[in-house]
């Protein structure tokens, strides 16, 4: 063993190198704050390892990026953990970098002979933020897409160079596959190379300055073991937080990027202060001048607080001011978001959409990507069709045209009860010219639940969940009130437009009834000559009609639950 080690030492110098490293003198002796750069290096190493692991699965491209990330999350052993470590590790890097910066600033590590080391370290900050910005887009989910959209917009607002900068970032006029490929190149090649070079320069400069200080007689202690275990402990503490967060929460993956959605974007948390600053100081002042000015002040610190003209108070303000301001802005951003109803509602919608996208994509994704699955998903497609074809006349929960019934709660108990009780209410047919159906007499109101149950029983998908006694009572009431003289309900009735001029309610609310109605509401089975609504049989194909029917039936939670959407 000894001989073997001696031989290794003879050929490679490994043992003496290890000893030299262990005995490396740390100026000022072991300190907790000296552990920050070591933990930072270790955290960057974790980013490198998890990052390389993810490149084994990640595929840049607007129709494959999200899908490849989902594959990594759901199909690859430890995939979700690796991604979580990378996401939360990025936050750890930013925190450690900021802590290292503040601690170095407070111990005046920018003073001669360490000016160059200070400046090279400061330049690592924009580099780290660049990693965060580019990495956020790569999953090509809603939050990455929209945060990048906003970031590009901010870049665009820069005077003079803005337009060019935006185009260069996007790789064209729009966010798309070319944006992804260049963000991927920058995130995995350009920035890591930059970090390697700048990091090496920074370490070399720090070492050089340390050697100079030691030569001047500064006290020092070997790295091992006093500093070594401090380094290890600080990194272990950071790693513990990152692992717990990664395992418990994961990196998260929202629905695939949709350029046409009312998403409420927020950047990654460590960008929140910058975003909040923009709401306080809008325009290039907040996006460029203020952050740039802070960076310039920090860069100028070696001369602002020169040993010949010490300005300790100013120096402390410059070092502590930005992180405290960032903290305050970050807290403010969180408070504002928590109180923002619109934003919270958008969050809820985004989470539901993310869950839906993941569910649809689980069985394999078509060549057009998961966005294609979402596009064709009947409830969503039906809603889009409703917006373009129906909402001009039919409002949805009060939003939209006012010529026809509000279909927001269509086919629900409340809606059915309401329409029977008072069809002339503006929510129903009050705004139309249809006025032949009388309102229900007040003394008959107790029959409403039974009548509604009877109408619901027309839909076989709902029948099993209904109370047969109530349905029977409803049927009795239906005939007792002579509804059937206008609205046919059995083959024997002379209802429908043929008899009484009102739609037949046989099979009311079923996909078949709704499809036939949408195809031709003026058919004698429905409104006949009194019809006011356009026919959609020629305009929409079978798939579109089916999607619209799914959407309409989806207004009633019971019906949505009774029929699977695929």
């Amino acid at each position: 063993m000894r001989r073997w080690l001696a031989a290794l030492e003879d050929r490679t110098g490994a043992a003496s190198l290890a000893r030299r490293l262990l005995a490396r003198p740390v100026p000022d002796g072991p300190r907790w704050r000296h552990a920050l750069p070591a933990a930072l290096v270790a955290a960057v190493l974790v980013q490198a390892i998890t990052g390389v692991a993810m490149t084994f699965y990640y595929a840049p491209g607007a129709t494959i990026a999200w899908e490849s990330v989902l594959h990594l999350e759901e199909r690859v052993v430890l995939g979700g953990l690796v991604r979580g470590l990378h996401a939360f590790g990025a936050g750890a890097v930013v925190v450690l970098l900021a802590a290292h910066l503040v601690s170095a600033g407070l111990s005046r590590a920018y003073r001669r002979p360490r000016e160059a080391a200070w400046i090279s370290g400061l330049l690592l900050v924009p580099l780290a933020l660049g990693f965060g910005l580019t990495g956020y887009l790569l999953p090509w989910d809603q939050k990455g897409y929209w945060a990048t959209q906003v970031a590009v917009g901010i870049a665009r607002a820069t005077p003079l160079v803005g337009d060019v900068a935006g185009q260069v970032m996007q790789g064209g006029g729009d966010l798309g596959t070319l944006t992804l490929t260049r963000f991927y190149a920058v995130h995995t090649l350009v920035l890591p190379l930059g970090l390697l070079v700048l990091g090496a320069v920074h370490v070399a400069l720090v070492r050089r300055a340390a050697a100079a200080r030691l030569a001047e007689g500064a006290v020092a202690a070997p790295w091992w073991p006093g500093q070594a275990w401090r380094d290890g402990l600080v990194f272990a503490a950071v790693a513990l937080v990152v692992v717990v967060l990664a395992a418990a929460r994961g990196a998260g993956l929202e629905a695939p990027a949709d350029p046409a959605s009312d998403y409420s974007p927020r950047p990654e948390w460590y960008f929140a202060p910058l975003r909040q600053l923009l709401t306080v100081v809008p325009g290039p002042w907040g996006s460029l001048v203020l952050p740039g000015g802070v960076l310039l002040l920090l860069l100028a610190l070696p001369w602002l607080d020169h040993p010949d003209r010490p300005r300790p108070r100013l120096a402390r303000a410059i070092v502590l001011g930005p992180p405290l301001a960032a903290l305050a802005l970050g807290v403010q951003a969180a408070v504002v978001d928590a109180g923002d109803r619109e934003h919270q509602a958008a969050r809820t919608r985004a989470e539901a959409e993310a869950a839906l996208a993941r569910r649809l994509a689980r069985d394999g994704v078509p060549p057009g990507g998961a966005a294609e699955l979402l596009w064709a998903h009947p409830p969503l497609r039906g809603r889009r069709l409703f917006q373009t074809r129906c909402q001009g006349c039919h409002p949805l929960d009060g939003v939209g045209g006012e010529e026809a019934a509000d279909l927001g709660p269509f086919l629900t108990d409340a809606w059915l009860e309401g329409v029977i009780r008072d069809p002339r209410d503006p929510r129903f047919f009050g705004r139309t010219e249809l006025d032949t159906m009388p309102a229900l007499e007040r003394e008959d109101w107790p029959k409403l639940p039974a009548l509604v149950a009877f109408l619901r029983a027309q839909d076989p998908a709902l029948a099993p969940k209904l109370d047969p006694a109530l349905v029977a009572a409803g049927e009795e009431a239906y005939f007792a009130l002579e509804c059937h003289t206008c609205h046919a309900i059995t083959d024997a009735d002379e209802g429908g437009a043929l008899g009484g001029g009102a739609p037949s309610l046989q099979g009311y609310g079923t996909p078949e009834w709704l499809t036939a109605f949408l195809r031709d509401p003026g058919h004698e089975r429905f409104y006949g000559d009194s019809n006011l609504m356009p026919a959609y049989g020629g305009e929409l194909d079978d798939d579109e009609l089916a999607a619209l029917v799914v959407f309409l039936r989806g207004r009633d939670p019971a019906r949505a639950a009774a029929t699977p959407d695929r």
Partner: protein
Amino acid sequence: MTAEDTPEPAPEQAPDAPTTGPTTGPTTGPTTEPTTGPTTGPTTEQTTGPAAPDPEQPDPEQPVPRRRFLEMAAVCAGACAGVGALGAAAAAVIGTPLRAGPAGDLWVDVGPLARLPEGQPLKVALEGERRDAWQRLPRRTLGNAVAIRRGGEVLAWSATCPHNGCDVVVGERDLLCPCHVSRFAAADGAVLLGPSPRGLDRLDTRVEDGRVLVRFQRFALGTAERRTL
């Protein structure tokens, strides 16, 4: 601050104390003696056992002090465990797709029987849904088959050369693999010439309602014995 002249306490008792030994300069020592064993006192660490806390210099009779040895052994063991865990995790992450076998084995309709010429080998594309990682690709060419009609029956071979997996070409007299010039008999797919370790692989066929169905399968390459994947 670090210039306190107290001897170093055992780290497990008071780890906060500075570790500078009073006698050794931080930069001296370790590099000047390349011939000594790698674990001999490069730093200020002492052989402080609880019974003998005193000696300032390592005992020349005992080149590897026990505490120092244990310390280094623990560090090495920790490093090995860390590297091992990292390696195992990396193998698990990177190795995940290895558990999935190649896709295949389904019956494919290749068209009406009447369209196949009697006794003439013909290459037909086998189309179906292909699965690739997370993608579901409808109607892709899964592979080719060479089919021959013999009356009301059809014989078919996988067009994949069993040697290296190239697609064989239907020649005038025989079937030829363009990669390494293996030749196969058109009548039964047997090797006539070349490096292929076995003849072409037969595929199951059946005729239903006048249409030909071929069972798409994939076979191990490069082996003399035939093995489906």
